[in-house]
Subunit: 242 residues, 2 copies
């Protein structure tokens, strides 16, 4: 009997992934409503599925007391995340898609089932540690590099930092970043914080000075300036977003 005894449907995989992400990497209990919001479906549908996942021993779930992954569920969730992020790297590095296009395609590719596929892809890509959005890629055994990242709004005035990822992965945000010529690896200096509304004036290495909103600064993940510029824990060398 292998670790993943019988394989999951796409829908089940999507539930496990969402439970993993919402429950901060699967540790915390979460509610049906939050799941339904993430999956853009109905709480009633969620409750249906939760029962199935309990039967398969992939989650713990007591009525009105929240949901959490079991060990077995966690392993599968990590595998899906691994596949998703590896495919994202492939799409960006090999097929030259841009930062904001890869996620949607990876949503489909992550559900392709084959016991060796993730590992072969991993090898082919040179064992990347981070995906194009700066998120760590779980290893075959389910470990994840931890990443030292803060949000831009917590960087002190006058300090430099380097972009390592985004919190919000919506394409509107990613496209805005593209417009500002900000990508993974971009060096940014936080010039000034405006107390009035939390806006932040930044200086972008390649471009010039710009002002961005608090919402923007809350969603841009950067290597904290105390660390040696983040280069070390980046698989990707600095590059533009296409």
């Amino acid at each position: 009997m292998s670790i993943i005894s019988h394989s999951q449907t796409n829908s089940e995989e999507n539930y496990l992934k969402v439970i993993y992400h919402l429950g901060n990497e699967g540790k915390t209990k979460i509610s049906p409503t939050s799941i339904s919001e993430a999956l853009n479906n109905n709480p009633a549908s969620v409750v249906d599925m939760l029962k199935k996942l309990v039967d398969k021993k992939l989650i713990q779930y007591e009525k009105s007391k929240g949901v959490r992954l079991t060990g077995k569920g966690m392993k599968i969730a990590l595998l899906i995340v691994r596949r998703h992020r590896l495919w994202e790297v492939f799409l960006l590095e090999k097929l030259e898609y841009s930062w904001d296009e890869v996620h949607e395609i990876a949503e489909q590719l992550e559900h392709v089932h084959n016991p060796e596929l993730a590992d072969r892809l991993d090898k082919f890509l040179g064992f990347p540690q981070y995906d194009p959005h700066g998120d760590p890629i779980p290893t075959a055994s389910g470990e994840m590099a931890d990443i030292h990242k803060t949000i831009l709004s917590e960087v002190a005035e006058g300090k430099a930092c380097q972009v390592v990822g985004v919190k919000d992965t919506s394409s509107s945000f990613l496209q805005y970043l593209k417009k500002l010529d900000i990508g993974i690896g971009t060096k940014i200096t936080l010039v000034e914080k405006i107390p009035f509304d939390g806006s932040v004036i930044i200086s972008i290495k390649s471009g010039g000075k710009t002002t961005v909103s608090k919402m923007f600064a809350d969603n841009l993940l950067v290597a904290p300036p105390s660390l040696p510029q983040g280069e070390e824990h980046l698989h990707y060398s600095p590059r533009k977003i296409k």
Copy 2:
């Protein structure tokens, strides 16, 4: 309105592909029963689906008179075939899967939807013309290189030829080929045909002499010896099967 106005379900795509393959590249009318055999399901299920495909104007179908692709259906079928074969090349060339492993994974990958994906993959792979089984890959505009191939059993005694593909793609056949060290590009000389049962004695360039059954010889596609050894229309250089 694009060529493919609303995208198909996996199941619909599989039906279109089967109708394409069984009806010799979509030209001939075929029966519900033959479709059900290919899809390993029930004729009644096939009739259900045929109605849906008629509604979507993807096939022509009159009760008890057989099924044929419309122009629209043909375009989609060719796209699925294109995706399938491109992914097979990727899996073999880049992820180092073997000849007999790629088909099953490509069955899943062919259903990943993204308008640019096939073309980007095509470019990344260097615009291959043939898939690992020697079948031609339709171009973005739906053209296919035609391939001059015969079955081994039609090669004349004493003539040399080169393997370009297989008719039967079952893994039992592919594994047998692997065992005999025969792959795309392998040079074979037909030494003798046994009249009794159609068995064929062949000499394999790399290995020695072997006898294979008529069934074997009927399923191995080779470039006919009159052609300049087939190298020209092969994207792949001769190689072993892993």
